[in-house]
């Protein structure tokens, strides 16, 4: 087993939360360690921790307001214990989430521009987007909004210069080396190349968020008709 990296530091986010930081740049290996560490901490079911949040470069821990100790020391100790004991295997974490995506022109708002920019045909972009092996690196920005890593490096485009005021719910978008799914109609600057009929977040579901950190994601291209049949957005 490869040696586990040591955290760069335990940064207090106020007196009731800390960020255990492993990297200041995006590194998929490090992200995987953050996911595994988060799983190990969750498994301990500590009554004084109420939220364990794996992020791109580390893990945030939110403490119960009644916690009287030093959150920084407590977190450092906890992380050391978990690392010593060994973290769960990355393959045992997360689930596989299949995401149907319709890449039709009416949903793929930025596909022509991306195609022009990359000098790759829209068909080839879709093919490459579907073929990727993806992992959810973090869920944030909005409820159920996943940052998904594993995008084909050939599809790396910067974000749009001018963000859209409203990106339609379900939009599947790319930027740099990641892909995202918009859970609601919100503003955003990622390049929209398709749309899923699935609701990425629904508070009424037993599992409200379609995506959790560590999940494997498979995009499946669907025709417009299937998209309409599967439509979950209200």
């Amino acid at each position: 087993m490869a040696r586990l990296p040591k955290p760069l530091g335990v940064v207090p986010l106020g007196d009731l939360a800390v960020y255990v930081e492993f990297s200041r740049t995006l590194d998929l290996e490090v992200n995987s360690v953050a996911q595994r560490l988060a799983a190990a901490i969750v498994a301990r079911a500590l009554p004084w921790i109420r939220d364990v949040v794996p992020a791109l470069g580390g893990v945030a821990l939110h403490f119960e307001p009644g916690y009287e100790g030093d959150v920084r020391l407590a977190a450092a100790e906890l992380v050391e214990q978990c690392m010593k004991k060994g973290l769960p295997d990355a393959d045992d974490l997360g689930r596989e989430v299949e995401v149907p995506v319709c890449y039709d022109a009416e949903f793929a708002l930025d596909l022509p521009e991306v195609s022009q920019r990359l000098k790759i045909s829209p068909e080839e972009i879709i093919k490459r987007h579907v073929k990727g092996e993806y992992r959810v690196l973090m869920v944030g920005f909005a409820p159920g909004h996943p940052y998904i890593g594993g995008l084909d490096p050939k599809l790396a485009v910067p974000r749009r210069a001018a963000p859209r005021a409203l990106v339609p719910a379900g939009s599947v978008a790319i930027a740099n080396q990641q892909t995202v799914v918009y859970p609601y109609a919100i503003s955003g600057g990622w390049n929209v190349i398709g749309r899923t009929p699935l609701a990425a977040f629904d508070a009424a579901r037993a599992r409200p968020s379609l995506f959790s950190p560590g999940d494997r994601v498979v995009f499946r291209a669907v025709e417009r008709r299937e998209f309409v049949d599967l439509l979950e957005h209200k």
Binding site: A17, V53, A55, P65, F141, A142, H145, F201, A204
Partner: protein, 323 residues
């Protein structure tokens, strides 16, 4: 057994102590902006401290009571003839008109027995951006009918000692209201404090900041000198917390409040001490604050002191109920 909304006020929502354990899927805890006043209001009507109540913001609602209802308003002082910080039996058919906030920004109206509202993900809090929780996932409107969960008002009122007409002689202490402005808000250095130039670092702690009109339950924008970073390095999007002070490229700091985003890519110059967040929540747009640098240990002591003050207030209230 219900309360009818005759006039909704500026932003009246149902809030409790929020939904925890969902930040890993991007859902913030939300809940009452000032949970201290929520706990006091609940205690005054004999409810558990985390029961759902109405969060009233800056301009209050007008409500009509179908039956005798034991209610209490805590937090900001609003104009109107209604006594604050004490249990009051609102008579059947009576109306309660809450005016404008005179001191503070948010008050909590608790009703004995609580509201008959289904929890969503373990909480009755309204999460406005997601349109769920609370009363149909939205702020109250004219004509809404808030049904009470239990008919316990008369029984609880009868249990109150030293009863005097429709109210009592004592009142609970306001624990989060500003007594003078600017209020002092304790904060520790944020992760990216060192990335700001020395002028910005000094300005952050020297400036009297004003809460800007574009402030809401997600965050308070602060008007003052723009804060400039010494570097333009991009920051890897990372976790945030209630009370984090972010500085977007505009240089205008934003204090993250109850409905904040759980992650963000803006540098965090400071983190507000947890004990002071409910006091920040009591600032209306235009109100002023300044930040005082404190250590993590001091922040923890402030939190312990605040918690002792609240516990002691809750104990005296429960004694008045003859518990």
């Amino acid at each position: 057994m219900s309360i009818r909304v005759l006039r909704p006020g500026l932003l009246t929502t149902v809030q409790d102590r929020g939904r925890h354990g969902h930040q890993h899927v991007g859902l913030c805890p939300g809940g009452a902006m000032d949970p201290v006043s929520l706990a006091l209001a609940n205690a005054l009507v004999g409810n558990p401290p985390g029961a759902a109540a109405l969060e009233i913001t800056v301009i209050g609602p007008e409500l009509e009571f179908e039956r005798d209802t034991l209610v209490a308003i805590c937090g900001a002082e609003f104009q109107g003839a209604f006594p604050h910080n004490r249990p009051v039996l609102a008579r059947a058919g009576s109306k309660l008109s809450v005016g404008r906030a005179a001191r503070g920004a948010r008050a909590y109206l608790a009703a004995a027995g609580g509201f008959a509202i289904e929890p969503v993900l373990g909480s009755r809090s309204t999460y406005l951006p997601g349109r769920f929780g609370g009363f149909e996932g939205r702020a109250l409107r004219h004509g809404d009918l808030l049904v009470l969960a239990e008919d316990v008002s008369r029984e609880r009122f009868a249990r109150l000692k030293r009863k005097n007409g429709a109210s009592v002689r004592w009142s609970a202490p306001p624990l989060t209201l500003p007594d003078r402005e600017p209020i002092v808000v304790h904060a520790i250095e944020g992760q990216h404090y060192a990335s700001f130039d020395s002028t910005a670092q000094r300005a952050f702690f020297d400036t009297v900041w004003r809460v800007a009109p574009e402030s809401n339950r997600m965050g308070f924008r602060l008007a003052g000198p723009p804060l400039v970073r010494a570097t333009d390095d991009e920051i890897l999007s990372g976790p945030t917390c209630l009370g984090s002070v972010q500085v977007p490229p505009s240089g205008v700091p934003i204090v993250l409040m109850a409905d904040h985003q759980t992650t963000g890519g803006y540098p965090r110059i400071a983190e507000v001490a947890a004990a002071d967040v409910p006091r920040v929540a009591q600032l209306a747009p235009g109100a002023t604050l300044h930040f005082a640098l404190c250590s993590l240990d001091t922040a923890r002591e402030l939190r312990r002191d605040a918690s002792l003050r609240l516990e002691s207030a809750l104990r005296s209230i429960s004694w008045e109920f003859g518990k």
